[in-house]
Structure formats: C-alpha cells, structure tokens
Assembly symmetry: C2
Homo-oligomer: 129 residues x 2
DNA sequence: CCGTATCCTACCAGATACTG
DNA sequence: CAGTATCTGGTAGGATACGG
C-alpha cells in the first residue's frame, strides 16, 4: 500500500506520488470519521461524550482510534485533566485549524449540493417522504 | 452502515446526521481515489490511460469503479467516442468543478503542511535520505 | 467518564487473467 | 485502449464486555 520514500525528492508534497508522505496523509485523512471529527471541533474544544453525541453513528472505538491518529498528525490536541472520573478535552491545534477551514468548506459544499448529486439517481438511497 | 432516511427533514444537508444523504455522499467522497481523481481532472479532460499514469499507484479496477461512482453523483462526465480502439474521455461536470475547488484546496494544504504533520512522528513512515 | 480488549464480519482493494 | 471477471488477503469497523 504505502511504500517508504526512497529519495529526498519523495519528501516534497505531491499527493499524486504514491511514495510521498503527502499520499500517506491524504490516505489517513480521507475517512468520513476524520473529516467529521475535525469539522465537529470547529467551534471549540469538545469532550469524548459530546463528540459521540454530535457525530451521529460513530462508535467509541472509531472515535478513539481516529482521534489518536489525528493527534499523531498534530491536528488535534488531547488534554487529560487526570481526574476521577476522567475529564478529557479535545481541541484543534493551530495546524488543525488550518485544515479545518478546508474540510468545513468541503462539508458545507456537500450539504448545499446534496440534492443536485442525488436527484434521479436510483443507486443513492434517497427517499423523500 | 447507511440507513434510509425516515422523514423529510432527513433530506436536508447535515453530514453529522447518520441518515442524511449528505452523510452518504461524504462517505463515498472520503476515499483517496475519489479525491485524487477529481483533483487530477482540474486542468481539463483526461483519458483512462492518462489518469492511470497521472495518479501513481491506482489500479485499473479502482479507477473504473471510482469514476463510475463519481459519474453517478454527477461530478464526472464520461464521454465515449464509440470507436475501435476505444476512445473515452473523462471530465468534470459543472457540479464537479465546484467540488474540485474545495478538494484541490484541501490537497494543496496537505502538500504544503506535510513536514509539520510528520516531523518527530515515528508512526508515519517518513525517511529523509 | 473515558476508554481497552476481543471477537467477528463485510467490504475494500491488489493481483491476475481475459475481452471487444 | 478501455475496460470486465474472478480470486484472495487484509483491514475497516460494528457489537459486546470489561476496567480505572
């Protein structure tokens, strides 16, 4: 799937090059849960339970796993207050804020153009009741 | 995974709602191949072979499959000249052009911020040679 | 409250071979 | 050239139960 870069030029950002880290990152980020979590954090820090309720359909497992990946990419900051019961807060890093603008722009566009994309399309399960 | 919308309000665009078609669309679009194909078509129509060469690492299977999905969403137009040998050209629809702007913006941001996201990170296979 | 661990399944997606 | 068809392993991701 992802291959180790073999020369210095592979380190430059080019999503079209299979060996570039940029391809690795776009692979990681191109999941619905990554996009939705970053979008959800746009208005400020949120806790685990808040995210679970806000992002309808996400499981605890996928939330934890995806947030961990986003933290490794330095897009999300995890703040553990070390209390009992636990109090953990997630927020976007400055880097994450930059990405958030792009992702929110994408998400809002999708929401605004849903009808155009699904109309007259039998393979998309849209049902106006 | 995706559930049929059960009331009219579910048809409005809200990616955070599991039953909204917008969620279905973001699920479909959040794949590396969808993002890369739409990005690749930004400078004009391309043929099957051109896309194969331009998008390093994509297989014929995934290209065909993903482009079919994008065509169903009315984002990509497939033009078959009905000749032998075959001559098929893919291009963005007007709707696809709108999405392309958002996706390219996202891709360029990723490329520009690769270094910041991967530095000091052992779990991301970056190797400066 | 915020996780982890385990099991289990469906589908993603690469490899390969074949077609008009 | 631009596909289709089939096989297969790998992994995403849900369900469930447990833990600090």
């Amino acid at each position: 799937m992802y291959e180790m870069p073999k020369s210095k030029s592979d380190v430059a950002g080019d999503v079209f090059c299979a060996k570039c880290p940029a391809r690795y990152l776009i692979t990681k980020l191109s999941s619905k849960w990554s996009l939705l979590i970053i979008d959800a954090l746009k208005d400020g820090p949120m806790r685990n339970g808040e995210l679970m309720r806000f992002i309808d359909g996400i499981s605890q497992k996928m939330l934890t796993q995806t947030i961990k990946e986003l933290a490794e990419m330095k897009l999300v900051h995890r703040e553990d207050h070390q209390t009992i019961p636990p109090h953990v807060v997630y927020s976007l890093t400055p880097l994450g804020e930059g990405l958030q603008e792009k992702i929110c722009s994408l998400d809002r566009w999708i929401e605004e153009n849903v009808i155009a994309m699904v109309e007259d399309n039998n393979s998309i399960p849209l049902k106006l009741i």
